[in-house]
């Protein structure tokens, strides 16, 4: 098996050769010490805890064979019934509730016959009461959901007027619990609203560059440990509007398989060539890099103007963490640039919440473009791009978002300022650090208990995003409804956001969740897991994984 050929800065590391897919039941790992590197580094990079975290494996267990067979069978049956219902609708025996062409348009190119419309009409509409549920309170650790009923099998909804109170919120990206409406905490936000108002009514380049924006940019740069940063009003637009300003035609983008839509959209808008490498697979990435360096641009074979590797810190659908040290080593060897999207990982991982660079103990100046959003851990909206001063200055003039999009609203900016100062400890309290630790604690506890129970969980043990695999469409729907009945709000995801056989329920942990809430959720998960037969895992776990790491697949050596 190949291994990463480049030396890595961490002295004490164990390289996984199997990639991320553990096909065996008991998950045998081949790893070995890179002894040459151990002697070559004079200083160890990062504190011991981050080196330890780096070695935590990720797991993507496969279910038993009958699960995949039954999933396909289930989809097949519902598709057959979909064709049957479409036939009834076409013949006229059944009223069509969804959009269809007018009589005069029937001879033209059909508008609604593609697979996506078929899927929406016949599968999604049947069960869409599990999504877009209206809530009527702050999305903190608990929230209130409005009750709705449907007389005609989810074609139309009507609100009953009652609310389901105190539903435990396991779906909001509220990692550090900053989605709060406490008057004391929000005092500075109220003051700034008095001072600046709510709307900016301009773009950053025209009249919208407020002093508060400059203050936030300096704070973000200090937080991340880089030279300079720039903030934008919308997280999605940060990616999609700034990648075209960084790369263009004649450049190459190497993008991970599971990148977010905003990254893909930005990459496509830029006009650069896009090559996709397998998720978190360093051999695939290295092969593409070598190909890029050797052959150059497609027809002319000129060297690429720029090679940009685009990865995310935490992938939200899988819960996996990027293998950053390997990627940094590869990028240095092949002279590529690295774009790191830390939407879910900023504030949520790392000993002081600085993201994946801190988690792996790397130098932030190794990452060329650090991007992140304020939506998840800071309880606000917007995004930032940080890096060297030349990069950010160029973005200030060339980014579409800077020139055309409205600037960030002052209360939102102040919310981010207060949240970031809280995390850094600049407001004089240890509340921020306590929250970061609480989140790590919750993550560890929740994941280990779920694995003990026998669910199949994807992803790294550090990530606060926990996807539980449900596989069959019937179970996905029943799970969501049953959890709401038990007053727990979960987000279930199916095709097309995930592969067709891997429908899942995604739990987002928060520092605001108390242990009692987590225990309640775990208890209900246990009962539902037995009721719906969701415990597909075939691994054996010892009952107390925190005390001694003697499990079959979480054991790793730390000899120095």
């Amino acid at each position: 098996m190949a291994r990463t050929t480049a030396p890595v800065p961490n002295g004490n590391l164990k390289i996984q050769l199997n990639g991320n897919n553990f096909k065996n039941e008991n998950c045998k790992k081949n790893g070995y010490h890179n002894k040459a590197q151990k002697n070559s580094t004079a200083h160890s990079a990062g504190p011991p805890s981050s080196r330890q975290r780096f070695q935590r494996p990720e797991s993507f267990e496969n279910p038993p064979m009958y699960v995949a067979v039954m999933t396909y069978l289930g989809f097949g049956i519902v598709t057959l019934f979909g064709y049957f219902r479409d036939f009834l609708r076409a013949v006229g025996l059944e009223k069509c509730h969804i959009a269809r062409e007018r009589e005069e348009q029937k001879d033209f190119v059909p508008l609604y016959q593609d697979f996506e419309n078929f899927y929406t009409r016949n599968l999604y509409m049947r069960v869409r009461d599990n999504w877009n549920r209206p809530i009527c309170s702050l999305p903190g650790p608990v929230f209130d959901v409005m009750e709705r009923v449907s007389p005609d099998y989810n074609w139309t909804f009507s609100l009953t007027g009652k609310t389901i109170d105190n539903v435990i919120n396991m779906g909001s990206y509220n990692y550090l619990g900053f989605a709060e409406n406490d008057g004391d905490f929000l005092k500075t936000v109220a003051d700034r609203t008095q001072q600046y108002g709510l709307g900016v009514c301009s773009t950053r380049q025209e009249m919208g560059n407020l002093a508060i924006h400059e203050e936030l940019e300096q704070l973000v740069a200090t937080f991340l440990g880089v030279e300079s940063s720039m903030i934008f009003g919308m997280g999605f637009a940060t990616n999609s509007m700034n990648i075209p300003a960084l790369v263009g035609k004649g450049c190459l983008i190497l993008s991970d398989e599971l990148n977010h839509t905003s990254l893909i959209l930005g990459a496509r808008l830029s006009g650069a060539t896009i090559w996709v490498f397998k998720h978190n697979n360093m051999q695939s990435l290295e092969r593409l890099l070598r190909e890029a360096v050797c052959s150059g641009q497609p027809r002319t074979h000129r060297p690429w103007r720029k090679v940009l590797i685009m990865v995310e810190g935490i992938y939200s659908m899988e819960g996996s963490v990027v293998r950053l040290p390997d990627i940094v080593a590869l990028k240095k060897k092949y002279k590529a640039y690295l774009y790191l999207d830390e939407a879910h990982s900023i504030g949520a991982v790392g000993p002081t919440g600085r993201g994946v660079t801190e988690l792996f103990g790397l130098d932030p100046s190794d990452i060329d473009v650090m991007m992140g959003t304020f939506t998840k851990s800071f309880g606000a909206a917007g995004g930032y791009i940080a890096g060297k001063k030349e990069l950010v200055d160029s973005l200030r003039s060339h980014s579409h978002s800077a020139v055309y999009a409205s600037a960030m609203s002052p209360p939102v900016t102040e919310q981010i300022l207060r949240a970031m100062k809280c995390i850094m400890g600049l407001d004089g309290t240890t509340v921020g650090q306590a929250r970061v630790h609480q989140l790590a604690e919750n993550t560890r506890y929740f994941r280990s208990r779920l694995q003990e129970m026998g669910f199949i969980i994807y992803g790294n043990d550090d990530s606060p995003v926990v996807p539980i695999l449900l596989y069959m469409p019937g179970k996905v729907v029943a799970f969501s409804r049953a959890m709401l009945k038990r007053k727990i709000g979960v987000v279930v995801v199916g095709f097309p956001a995930t592969p067709i056989t891997e429908a899942r329920a995604r739990f987002c942990l928060s520092a605001a969740h108390t242990k009692a809430m987590l225990d309640q959720v775990l208890f209900d998960l246990n009962e539902l897991g037995d009721d719906l037969c969701l415990k597909f895992s075939r691994r054996k776990y010892s009952p107390r994984p925190q005390q001694h790491n003697n499990n079959d697949d979480t054991d790793f050596e730390l000899d120095s």
């Binding site: 039954m70 069978l73 289930g74 989809f75 049956i77 519902v78 019934f81 049957f84 599968l123 049947r126 069960v127 099998y153 069959m472 469409p473 019937g474 179970k475 729907v477 029943a478 009721d531 719906l532 037969c533």
Partner: protein, 98 residues
């Protein structure tokens, strides 16, 4: 009997979930159930009616082959007789055209 009832209810629920019938409307579920259970019933009837006869004839054929190596035509004739046997038995069970 009440406990058994609840268990049967849970089994039916599992059947609904695994085949994804759970997402369909009740009348569609009835259609699927009737089609599925009638085909299962037909499979059971056919196996009850024909599997013993087929097995018996197959054993006779193969033991005949092993016993009389050179006489392959003899074995073939025996097998043809066996097929007539099966036709008659099928008639006895009733419901088959001659």
């Amino acid at each position: 009997l009440a406990i058994g009832d609840e268990y049967l209810g849970w089994l039916y629920y599992q059947y609904l979930l695994i085949t994804s019938i759970y997402v369909l409307e009740p009348w569609e579920q009835s259609i699927f159930n009737s089609v599925f259970f009638s085909s299962v019933a037909m499979v059971i009837y056919t196996s009850y009616a024909f599997v013993p006869v087929h097995v018996r004839l197959a054993l006779k054929f193969f033991s005949g082959i092993c016993g009389e190596q050179p006489e392959s035509t003899m074995a073939l004739k025996q097998w043809m007789d066996g097929m007539d046997d099966r036709k008659e038995i099928g008639n006895e069970k009733g419901g088959l055209p001659t």
